[in-house]
Symmetry: C5
Subunit: 153 residues, 5 copies
């Protein structure tokens, strides 16, 4: 199996590195990396990884600023990623970090690293089959922070 | 007939379980389940269920948080689901719960369970044909809460 | 000619009924009806009417609540309808009523009925050809309320 | 060459008339007109003009009200027009007027007429080739109001 | 290799000029230019450059005003550009300047020139291959302003 990794020069954390480490530690899948300027370049980068490089799944790493225009741009990037998945019938795990999620640089780094690693494991699970994650269905899993668990009544 | 059930590990209620129970109780349709990390992974999961597993209809179970970014993400997920339906010419019933719909955990659970069960019955009705629900057209049916009935003048 | 009528069990007014009466009164076109749970199910319903049932035009009847999430959902439904038209090269007249358009139940009913009837006549006109409505171009026609007429200088 | 003109009965100014006059005065291109109820019907109307009537370019004339729901609808219409262009590889010049652009009826009329005429000339220029407008690149041209010219430092 | 350059007569800075200078200075790639009225015409212009003129990559230069309607229009333009990339499997670097990014005309000009030049170099890098920019992954590069560098902990 082959995993496509698309990331950006815009982000100020090398998130892909942490995902690649997690993939290598837990699988023997091949990895193809593609670095683009910003997150609006990620959808087509992922589509090219899936179409041209025959990746079986892709991960898109991006970082969004705190301003309204940044939210608008991340929305455009996300819609492109939605569309790229439907055109290829393959998953693209969107690993985006919004800088206003964190109060300190350290928090931001922890969120980015944790989200990248956990989504790398999600990618590995999805490659195993449709029901690999079913044992965790509705269990409140989170990437970038602690799982919240199932709703307690 | 075959019904695709796509759900997430993000949600903290196992909504699909209630839908599956309702389907089994009321039909002999085959069920294919697909669990993904979050609701932005649902559109392609449903498309794969419809395309690869030859499901006749799909249901997409997701849960959205209360923050503006959560609304943005649910909007992206919904637009992907719109597009997946048009590409396959098959229905995908979107069964999303927004956590700000409920005031208590118990309310949230009741909404999620009720919406999942009622939409499972909607899926069964749609599989029967285009006019199966016509007797209820314009009658103010709701999923997740009480029906409001037809407008009284 | 054949007209597709897609409507919902969510709406609390049977708008399609008024459109069907107007079509029957003014034409001999065949009608195919398709009732779905909510307005987000309308785009694919219309596409199926146009593709599978060979309808020449479709009408999509929906009702939207007053909350921000309702606006978001109607936006998603509308974008799906835009896309379905472009994929089929056929018109889908969107006949949506927003409950916050009206102050009373009676007003809401009048808007819904008037809009449904007028758009049924629009559908008949569009079936006649590209310039059937040209005599009314720029004349401020409205559905659901009074026409405003051409701008007076 | 053939120019498609799509307009609405919703608008209260016959914008297409001014565009057609400008086209006739400055070219011998054929014109095909298509009048639809509202601006959400324009995208597919333009696509049909480009696909079925073999128009080389289209113009879409619409008018949007001042309310939030009007902005939402114009957004949907515009996204449909974006998509129709990409599906046909032909331009559709969007000539929309927002009623809140003007303070008086006279202003509104002047904006609509000026925008329609100037965009008709833009359509003629685009039909001449990719670099016909390059001499005006970055020169602050406006339709509906005065050009602002190049930025002065 | 061939680079498509699409720009507008709406912008009041000739951004494409600075990109073309940077491309000529750093490569021998062929350039095809296409000037359109406004940024909503850029997506199809780029698609035509990529499809009809066999460009290997495109750049889209646009300028957006400060009003809400301007943001809406830039959003529509951006979504069209996302889609055009996915339809062609080629990059379109979006080089948009929002006039509210700058406090003075001089600032605006500097942002526009810097962003155009830096994105021209990004285009050249992307033409070299998928990992040409990987050495800068997660290093906080910016176009239109100073790079922010990697996050310091």
């Amino acid at each position: 199996m082959k995993i496509g990794i698309a990331d950006t020069t815009f982000a100020n954390i090398d998130m892909a590195k942490y995902a690649i480490e997690a993939i290598r530690k837990n699988s023997k899948h091949e990895i193809a990396r593609y670095t683009v300027p910003g997150f609006k370049d990620l959808a087509v980068a992922c589509k090219k990884l899936l179409d041209d490089d025959n990746c079986d799944i892709a991960m898109a790493f991006g970082m969004a600023g705190p301003m309204p225009i940044d939210k608008q741009c991340s929305h455009e990037a996300s819609l492109g990623i939605q569309q790229a998945q439907l055109m290829t019938n393959k998953h693209i795990l969107e690993v985006f970090v919004h800088t206003d999620e964190a109060k300190t640089s350290k928090d931001l780094f922890e969120i980015a690293k944790n989200r990248s690693e956990k989504h790398a494991l999600n990618a590995l699970a999805l490659l195993k089959g449709k029901t690999e994650l079913t044992k965790f269905a509705g269990t409140g899993r989170r990437q970038g922070k602690e799982d919240i668990g199932s709703l307690k009544l």
